[in-house]
Amino acid sequence: MGKHMLKRIDLIFKNEHDTDAILQKIFKRSNEDLINDLIGSGLKGRGGAGFPTGLKWKLTSEAEGDEKYVICNADEGEPGTFKDREILSQVPHKVLTGMAACGRIIGAKKGFIYLRGEYNFLKPDLQKEIDNFHTTLKSLKSDFRIEIFSGSGAYICGEESSLMESMEGRRGEPRNKPPFPTEIGYLGKPTVINNVETLAHAWTIFKYGPKKFRDLGVQDSRGSKLFSVSGDTPVAGIYELELGMSLQDFVDDFGDGDTKAVQVGGAAGFCVPRKKFRETAIGYQGKLTGISLPTGGSMMLFNSSRSMYNVLKNYLEFFEEESCGQCTPCRVGCQQLLEGVEAVKRGDKPHHYLDKLMRLTETMKLTAKCGLGQSVANSFSSIVENFREEMIY
């Protein structure tokens, strides 16, 4: 461990169980007040996309609809990400409270937790929590109800519109956007869909007020965030840190002394080589100097013993398998990228074939229908650009 010691935060996992009191407090206040707190806190979606949470709730509360829904996205599938599982097993009541608050604000009677199939073992305990929570809600005269919906092993279902397709009993293929779920979501009704961590942060904001959250972080990246740290690190695990840290500080604390690259944001994210650690900050796009990388929280460290070719190949195999196949740039693109890097490595294609593949990722970025196909370009080009010789020899 380095000497910097990043500021560790303890909001999410802090052992606080005053659910009844918080709920009472929430239900006493007006919807406008609550929304203003969320907007004032600067909270952005913690699944990776970073849409302002308060605005999402506001839009859905204003949308026309006889029925509305709240969905907690617990389809945590990004390789290298494991924070939501920990939230759901340690502080599920915070997530449930966030959902109930959202339900009150937007006027929904029903909430769902879309739990990835890989986490089925969480179900019995989570169901018990939900049952207790329903009793509390009843005593507060709220008829909001929460149900668990199990996924069945499809990475793309973490994308909100495919998640809803899947809940409607179909293949989890992303929908065209717009319309957005705030207008037309689950069963065609206005829907708020939030990541597990986002809902847990809402709890903190309603309990402590927006300032406590807003005081953390920098500029457009406010608050704390859970990071899932894995790979070549002596301290793999889950950590709550302030947004806006530099990657250098992160590596000083979490690296193994020999870190040559960090993949920020999982397979769909960016690979940052050692020479760019200092200029790279972790947060949402904003006016930070240098590069600012958004992330759902996955941080994978690689030391010099790793072949970045193997890393890229593993990512591409992942995408090729998890592409929903709906649009050609992604379906065929992923296959071509994988075959392409293998051919260059074998010597069946010349070095400059890599440039062709780079152009292909640009096309995918522009023409793929959803974030999956678009983000393949991130890991591909950041690895090929920075570790080109490893792709060839």
Partner: protein, 154 residues
């Protein structure tokens, strides 16, 4: 009525005929049978009033909805990046050795099926595997033999 028909009827009654209940119904069949056969899919289609092709198209989209016969215990070893870095290949060899089958196969007594899967969300404790819904992490060759030994005696 066959067992499968009875199972499907029960599930359809429990969840309802609406399209949005298709996944829970398919999951119910898999929980019982470990996979969903053509026969089961046709039966679901009939009872829910949708086409069998539609049920098939949906089921095959999801990696945990096996449409081929599987063993009583389905072992899924994670092959994604961190598990790969932390020696997933040796773990796979150990599993093949303990079960005397290759990846993708089912033991002749239909007790075990060995598959690979993508990230299980335990990358900080890689390598990881799932046996049905049970998770096993920080795998070593010894641990694999120990765990499989326990399952063999079940």
């Amino acid at each position: 009525m066959t067992d499968i028909q009875e199972l499907v009827t029960g599930l359809v009654e429990k969840h309802g005929r609406k399209r949005e209940n298709l996944l829970p119904i398919l999951q119910g069949v898999i929980e019982k049978e470990r996979s969903v056969s053509d026969f089961a899919m046709v039966e679901i289609a009939k009872q829910m009033g949708i086409s069998a092709a539609d049920v098939y198209g949906t089921a095959t989209f999801y990696s945990f909805m096996d449409t081929e016969p599987r063993g009583e215990y389905v072992i899924r070893i994670c092959k994604t990046i961190t598990c790969f870095m932390k020696g997933k290949n040796q773990i796979l060899l150990a599993l093949e050795d303990a079960l005397k089958i290759k990846l993708g196969e089912t033991t002749p007594d239909r007790k075990f099926t060995l598959l690979e899967t993508n990230c299980l969300g335990w990358c900080h404790k890689a390598p990881a595997m799932l046996i049905n819904d049970e998770i096993y992490t920080d795998l070593t060759i010894e641990k694999v033999h120990e765990v499989i030994g326990e399952y063999k005696n079940k």
